[in-house]
């Protein structure tokens, strides 16, 4: 992949976003499901107050909207990416690409970035609904930081998703791989409820994974006087680098002449 491939990358990103916007699974999963969650729990807990990770006491939806936003981002950049790439491999799409001059890094890189674009759009949609419906406050001076956290979070989740997606051989392998990692980690990371009262070992365990840092950093942008912790950003950056390292190695293997994309004997 060279700089002359940038227009090609741009074309494939645009096409990938278009494909996801046309996919009923992506629309339902990434856009509708988080919206239903926020509407449902926002209405049920309209008068509740919760303690945000920063210690501030805020309205339920003020905490819940950004954390479900992180959940939507996870669905788009992690779960959908893993299942999508594994399905592409199973149905022979990756093999098709491999027989053309389109570099596999451009093809899968466009998928990673396209998933990030869709994920961030789904978060924006969530706020477009939640701000007028539940009076969620958005602090203008925190928006640049919020966007930075989202982009870094999308990159981090997407790189791990790409690494895992290129390891799974079939959609049947990919689905449990994606769900069984994402769901438990989302519970201990404070996606569904704040984990400030959880036992310390659990908090430490959650702190190992990037999702808690993503929830903490993004939620911090929506409390008065909140600020994003450098440690949270560092964790996201380290996981992004680790995910990319594995993904790039996997790509080399898949693109190589002895690739397992081609079954060994038929």
């Amino acid at each position: 992949m060279t700089t002359r491939d940038l227009p090609l990358l741009g074309r494939w990103i645009a096409a990938r976003v278009r494909m996801m916007m046309r996919s009923p699974r992506a629309l339902g999963f990434t856009f509708a499901f988080p919206l239903v969650l926020v509407t449902l729990f926002g209405s049920l807990n309209a008068d509740q107050k919760v303690t945000a990770p920063s210690g501030a006491t805020v309205e339920f939806t003020q905490y819940y909207t950004p954390s479900i936003g992180v959940f939507a981002l996870t669905l788009a950049c992690y779960t959908s990416l893993i299942i999508g790439v594994a399905t592409a491999r199973e149905t022979g799409l990756l093999k098709r690409v491999r027989g053309t001059p389109l570099p596999l890094p451009v093809y899968l890189g466009a998928w990673l970035i396209g998933a990030g674009v869709v994920g961030i759009l789904s978060v924006v949609l969530l706020f477009v609904v939640a701000v007028p419906a539940f009076g969620v406050h958005v602090y203008a001076d925190m928006l640049p930081q919020a966007l930075l956290v989202l982009v870094l979070g999308a990159a981090c989740l997407g790189s791990i998703g790409l690494a895992l997606g290129t390891m799974a051989k079939t959609a049947d392998q990919a689905t449990p791989l994606a769900q069984l990692t994402m769901l438990p980690i989302s519970f201990i990371s404070g996606v569904w409820f704040p984990i400030t009262d959880a036992p310390s070992w659990l908090v430490h365990l959650a702190g190992f994974f990037p999702l808690k840092h993503l929830v903490d950093a993004f939620s911090a942008c929506f409390v008065p006087g909140g600020s994003v912790e450098g440690g949270d950003l560092a964790s996201l950056a380290i996981w992004f680098a680790a995910g990319m390292l594995v993904a790039v190695r996997r790509l080399r293997v898949l693109d190589g002449a002895r690739s397992r994309l081609i079954p060994s004997f038929r």
Binding site: M19, S23, S264
Partner: protein, 300 residues
């Protein structure tokens, strides 16, 4: 000097010239999967602009050979040259010059036909215009259809469209008409013939002898990982033999000969002198299917 020796000498003298006319050159290619020797020393030459049909029973090594030529797989030993490239290196300059139409390649269900062709052709230096590609494969006017809603035959046309979108010099067609009804198959043959007229080199694998007979300039039969026969569809394995049959005195007479005219002359003269009509007299060449079945039966 014998004719054969003269020809060998001539071809050696002009080998550099001949080389530029060669699209694919393979010699001594071997490939094993564990204990199974899928390719056991294959030699093959395909000239530019030629349509070569690769025949052989299942497990003969056809797919392995074609995948080695496409750069999808690596030979254990032997020399492979496709358009001056070693396919195993999977260089981009090589992939820009070939087109691959396999059977089991996926399609993006959420792209329409026109978008898919435009998108995949974007990676090639000199793609063929999308409308022209769709017209060539018989999908003109279907640019808005989604792959998910297409019939099997139409999907195969889209496969072919994606294979030729980059205007490749060599086209690899893997059983392009499997599962087609007779009229769809005729149409596909017209399309393939059209591509040949554009000067494309085409390597076709097929199970349909009629397809090879109609389309191919030359046929190569692979069995047990070796080339067991090659020639034009009409001369393959038959050594120019004809089959003569007729009915005389209620008995069917049948013999094979390389000189039917000479052999028949006395028989016909004698019969004419007696005023006798030889019932059901035919002189035929063995069909490609006859030859193929005979060839592959010997080996199994």
């Amino acid at each position: 000097m014998t004719d054969a020796a003269a020809i060998r000498m001539l071809s050696a003298m002009t080998s550099t010239l001949v080389h530029t006319e060669t699209a694919i050159e393979v010699s001594g290619v071997r490939r094993a999967y564990g204990p199974v020797q899928a390719l056991d020393g294959v030699d093959l030459t395909v000239r530019r602009g030629e349509l070569l049909a690769l025949l052989g029973p299942n497990g003969a090594g056809k797919t392995t050979l074609v995948e080695i030529l496409e750069g999808h797989r690596v030979a254990d030993s032997g020399r492979v040259d496709v358009l001056g490239h070693d396919p195993a290196r999977r260089q981009r300059a090589f992939l820009e010059r070939i087109g691959i139409v396999l059977q089991e390649e996926g399609l993006d269900p959420n792209l329409n036909v026109g978008e898919a062709v435009a998108l995949y052709s974007a990676a090639y230096p000199n793609p063929r215009p999308v409308d022209e590609v769709l017209e060539l494969v018989g999908l003109g006017g279907r640019a808005g259809d989604r792959a998910a809603t297409m019939s099997g035959g139409q999907r195969r046309r889209l496969d072919l469209a994606l294979g030729i979108a980059g205007d490749p010099e060599i086209l690899f067609l893997d059983e392009p008409t499997t599962g087609f009804d007779p009229s769809a198959r005729r149409h596909a043959w017209d399309v393939i013939n059209g591509l040949r007229e554009l000067g494309k080199t085409i390597l076709l694998t097929t199970h349909y002898m009629e397809e090879a007979q109609v389309l191919a300039d030359r046929v190569v039969v692979l069995s047990g990982g070796r080339v067991i026969a090659e020639g034009t569809p009409d001369t393959l394995g038959g050594n120019g033999e004809s089959i003569v049959t007729y009915r005389q005195n209620g008995r069917i007479v049948r013999f094979t000969t390389t000189t039917p005219t000479m052999d028949l002359a006395p028989i016909l003269t004698a019969a004419a002198e007696r005023g006798e009509e030889l019932e059901g007299l035919t002189v035929t060449r063995p069909s490609l299917e006859d030859v193929y079945l005979e060839l592959t039966e010997d080996r199994s």
